[in-house]
């Protein structure tokens, strides 16, 4: 089984984790157009590549960011949100 490294709990089997998806910066709801809001809500960057994703270690409820190559399933690094080194 794939190993994912929780920044708090270290390497654990990926079945202990919940995948949320790629980090998507929210546009300002007050100023953005309906169209760009819908784009934010529904559209995704579906192509493969290195992505910053939200993951959660379920047992400890630790949310963190994994930088992952989504074509090769390689986790390049994991870190706590906004604590990028």
């Amino acid at each position: 089984m794939k190993i994912m490294t929780c920044p708090f709990n270290g390497p654990r089997p990926v079945s202990e984790f919940f995948y949320w998806g790629e980090i998507r910066p929210m546009p300002d709801p007050a100023t953005c157009s309906d169209e760009s809001w819908a784009d934010y809500i529904f559209n995704r960057n579906g192509a493969p590549g290195v992505k910053q994703e939200w993951w959660c270690h379920i047992a400890s409820n630790t949310w963190f960011i994994a930088e992952r190559n989504t074509e090769k399933d390689l986790v390049l690094r994991t870190y706590l949100f906004e604590e990028e080194l």
Partner: protein
Amino acid sequence: MRLPPVPGEWLDRSVDVSFSFEGKTYRGHAGDTISSALLAADAGILGRSFKYHRPRSVLSMANHDVNAVCQWGDRPNVRADVTRLQAGMDLAAVNTFGGLKSDKASVLGSLSRFLPVGFYYKSFHTKRLFPMWERLFRTLTGLGKVSFNTPHIRTAKRYGFCDVLVIGAGPSGLAAALAAAEQGAEVVVVDENARAGGSGGYVRGGFGPQAEQLADDPLTRVLAHPGVRLMTETYAAGYYADHWVALVGGDVLTKMRTKSVVVASGAYEQPAVFRNNDLPGIMLASAAQRLIYRYAVRPMQQAVVLTANQDGYRAALDLAAHGVEIVAVLDLRLSSTASEPELAVKARGIPVLPGHHIVEALPGANGKSVVGAIVAGRGKMRTLACDGILMSIGWAPAANLLYQAGTRMRYEQSLEQFVPDTLPPGVFACGRVNGVHTLSARRLDGQRAGSAAAAHAGFGDARVITVPAEMECPTHPWPIVAHPKGKNFVDFDEDLQLKDFENAVQEGFDNIELLKRFSTVGMGPSQGKHSNMNALRILARLTGREPQQVGTTTARPFFHPVPMSLLGGRGFSPERRTPLHARHEALGAQWMMASVWQRPEHYRLTDKDRQQCIREEAMAVRQNVGLIDVGTLGKLEVIGPQAAELLERVYISKYANLKVGMTRYAVMCDESGVVIDDGVVGRLAEDHFYFTTTTSGAATIYRELSRLNTMWRLDCGIVNHTGAFAAVNLAGPKSRALLSRLTSLDLSATAFPYLALREGVVAGIPARLMRVGFVGEWGYEIHVPANQGATLWDALMAAGKAFALRPFGVEAQRLLRLEKGHIIIGQDTDGLTNPFDVGLEWALKMDKPFFVGQRSLHVIGRQPRKQKLVGFVLDAQFNGSAPQECHLVIDCGEIAGRVTSIAWSPTLGCHIGLAFVRPELAETGTAIAIRLTDRSTVSATVARTPFYDPDNLKQKEPA
């Protein structure tokens, strides 16, 4: 025939094992496999082929003899070549019609001209007749039979950890294991055979173990090394990400996590393709050697050896040393390097015919044996009499796990074999799978790989070891002979002949993957172990390409098939129970699953049916007082200066202005404005809220709120108390009187008004109480620490006796809330429902600065409504069969909505329900038509909700 004891044999001759095969009783020895015992007893053929039902026997003795597969009681598809003989086995060959000896389906062999590759695509497809043909095909295909009486076998799984996992305990694997262990790594070696040693044990060249082997037996040293664990009768079934390897052996699945892997899985000896190459008595040379040295079985009396490498000569010597007359050694090569074994063969006076091949093997009168071979070479044809033929023309790497690990392979011309080109990090290969065939070189290669694997795992440095190149090419590039009459088999699982490939390519299936899919080559139970390489060579030749250009098909798990009982393990279906579970059980609860929880649906009474019980429970709440376990609700707490801010952002209503000691209904939307959850938010202090979620939403809501809180960096923390608190709802006109007996809290309407939240002591237990009205009566939701839940329940039940308290279940609760017009998220909403659809505009505070879903709801709010959730009632006199949930509302012949909830209300004396309808049908008083399953319609009238106590008088102090 059984030989006298052979040094190193795996048999325990002191133990006789009696078994039966096809109704006849045989005896073998402990240590035999089914096949070896049957051959030792000269039992005749072992099985029938898949398509033509030709008689078959041993091919490999290496777990790919797919034509020697047995039904063993309720076990289908038991492989005779490797399955250990057990006393009392009652065996039969699979897929025969009328027994192995006189299989009626063998008539298919004579029809083979009509049944070329893919014949079934070309006919049998008239609409009328196809079902009949399909039944026939299904009867003919398939191997073993399942028995419906087989029990559910539950096996525990094991988890293993090591530094270096070596797959294969042959000469290279053992060397690798030793090398790695000597560098300090903790090593596990697995081998699918009953004993370690691999080909080192059975490729001997005629005499005892080879001299160099005796001098320095690596197995002894491996067994003696404390850093090595050897697991025999265990195969690596699959390689998965991050060096996670499935090991199957001893009726257990071991999931091995290793730091590096050495694949020393060897090679599959490959069959030659010539007419009748499938006759019993024709086998791979290594199969004959296994039979002799492992099971002391002489596989034949007079053998023709077809070879293209020194392994064949070695096999000839092995046979000759055990009383087999070698009629001739046919060497496909015109010239060879005159290896040691070849010289030894010649020295024994065995005829060697270079540049010769077998044109056809000759069947005996009954077709169940080989009696000779027509051979050709140097322009001449001749017939050799024999009762067995050994094929030793080359090898294909057992690279399945290497492929699964992501290894890029390349075709090495000098070896006529695919070898690893680029290995993934932490994966190493050695021995025959790596293109190294000479025994001494295999050991060196093993040392090299083992050392490198240990170094990768952090033990020592990788030693530089040079492995000498092979002196001869071990594999012939074209061991294939055409014959006008065919029956020259390439795939023994699927009965595919050479011409099947020619025909498939002619039809345009000229890509290796298309060829596989059209011809089914490699798709049988052996998964192409002896057929893929020849298929690839044939395709390359037919299309004028090199093997490298043709490429291989993808090797997927499993290496050998794995029983479902091992994969399934003990089975794990977790369910959650509230702290009151035993109390409900004692009260006769009828259980139901509510997401992962077991909840009482209702409480059974001996003399009453389900409906009666539910209605009585509901009426008890309306008239006296009822008690329901609501401990499955999500129970969360948010604490901190910005706790209110968090709730403001995640719920559609406002909470900043919620007074301490009060609660408010709470609805949550997702970013697209879809309603996803609801609950009640209570304020314990300025910076402290306690709130509930739906039962099924608890885990996900907690998780998502935590994420949002992480992202927003608010100054507050969230705690999930779902499992930590027990919770009950005490509801009914007498609830206050009951509760007052157990608490000193002031329960007056002024001190503890509707929607208030209080902390106090109930029955001696610290509790949080909320005055909520979900079921439409005066009531209290009481939350206490989980370990005191039962005490609270008992106290309430005891005190309740005086008030005719009844426990009630989920169904009564659904009915009561329906009377009150409350929606259930997930039942009265679906994956696209927004707050406007279900009349939640009153809760929707669009003037807040922000909440999740708000911006989308701005857009949705401007759009015309597509549907509206309304209440409806059936006529009080209605006595037909009532609509059910999800029956459709039909208007002018079109779907205009659906019923989401419906029940007969004992309080109102009629059927009441909620339904989505098109907006034009939503006006109170509108007649709507609901279509039932039998397509009849029932008329209903849109009605205002709540159906019961519309002015909420029940929550007010009686005047």
